[in-house]
Symmetry: C2
Subunit: 301 residues, 2 copies
Amino acid sequence: MLRVCYNAAMSKDTIKIALIQHACGTDSATNVNTFCDMATEAAKQGAELIVTQELFASQYFCQVEDESRFDLAEPIPGPTSQRMCELARSLGVAVSASLFEKRAAGMYHNTSIMVDRSGEIIDRYRKMHIPDDPRFYEKYYFTPGDLGFRVQQLPGAGVTTGMLVCWDQWFPEAARLTAMQGAQLLLYPTAIGWYHGETEQDKADQLAAWQTIQKSHAVANGVYVAACNRVGVEDDLTFWGHSFIIDPAGHVIAEAPQGEPAILTAELDLSRIDTQRRGWPFLRDRRIDAYQPLTQRLLDQ
Amino acid sequence: MLRVCYNAAMSKDTIKIALIQHACGTDSATNVNTFCDMATEAAKQGAELIVTQELFASQYFCQVEDESRFDLAEPIPGPTSQRMCELARSLGVAVSASLFEKRAAGMYHNTSIMVDRSGEIIDRYRKMHIPDDPRFYEKYYFTPGDLGFRVQQLPGAGVTTGMLVCWDQWFPEAARLTAMQGAQLLLYPTAIGWYHGETEQDKADQLAAWQTIQKSHAVANGVYVAACNRVGVEDDLTFWGHSFIIDPAGHVIAEAPQGEPAILTAELDLSRIDTQRRGWPFLRDRRIDAYQPLTQRLLDQ
């Protein structure tokens, strides 16, 4: 757990980030090249931190339970993480990348790494909340994370990030515990889409709920939030894109289109975090004396 | 803490609720009469549970710190709570009322009571999270609640409610702890408005954030949420109304206007809670092994 730094003099006030939203084919090398090309363009536009979508090196392989798909995983460090380190060093930017990690024989994680601009992996986060629904069989592939909720202080970039992954976005506890460590920006690489059998109303409700819950983390915690989602049709799912960046008031400051690749950038004014929290001092008023039962499953007796 | 009942056979599937949004003048008797008249109309429209706005019997007296304003408080039971009991019994409906409670000499609470349709007070909740900002000097008036987060099983109405109050709405922990006890419907009587010196952008952001955070409680917990806010200009504030009712998907199913009184009703289909939670089983996947630090103020070392 890193030390919270609220000393404004120790960090610059703005950072430009970029989310890379794209489609994935069946060839991993092509997917990684697509990201690297778009990241290079983002760096030219001034991005200092570049974020991948969830499991950006492959198609979303969890639509079926197939033992051979574990072959997509790599150790960390491994070829794809090394490629990210080289990219970060060559561009002089930080890169947060979502990878399928092979930790040991028969133990795999959905893992994000943070690479600083010198090309070093400074932290990793293993997805804590694992979904399992038809076409999202993640409990089969991913061992639940055991590194807890974490923050990353980026040397040079002057921001403290909190890497989280996809399903984590539905849990206010994850956002809170990350913000409480000093995160100024929550990152949610995501693979979310519509099953082709759903009604139009269900589809609209799902997209709205996905935006709402992440806006609420910004509001409740007074932090920036960025979600990076893929696009494209893969088997039974159409991934809906709509990557977005939210300010500490819950306002969407940048949003990518639904069905097209996008380099989504925004300049974050980190001084707004203190301003927002002075106006709405929620962190001051938490009733920590009454929160112990949050560690229970249900309060049914 | 009441026992959770998930046995559908023990409850009917729908309940019609009404939120009463109105302006308040300086005469408490008139304010209470206004509510009773509107509640009577709501009952004629079929409402089975009727909800007041926050501190509905008076103007929002917390805009200044003035010792004489403690005179507005009453014990519970007391005149206003008895009036609510008579109203509930005469109409044959449940009433959730937000009151300024005098508990003892020098100890006052912002308290909600639940009156069942027979006219009995079956539960009370004392506001747990207390704000304090310019023009909202609640820490001066209200001792923080000591009854914890609670649910109310309504005899006859077939619904389990969770009474919360205003500032509680900004805390995901409060919604979660109430839903975990089996609440199907979270109630937030509210007194929120715009300070006249704010910019139009700030005003828009505040209203949007207020809606977002409460929608997020519906989404995160798979419950109905209802917020009842006042209207009218009182001193430096214009209360913005916009009372609303949200379904477990986070969809607004009823919304009152900004500047006018309203009887806002909706029929809630309680079977949708199970449907929603089957589709998005967030409660299944909480990482309770990692939530202990939520009982800390900040994780800064």
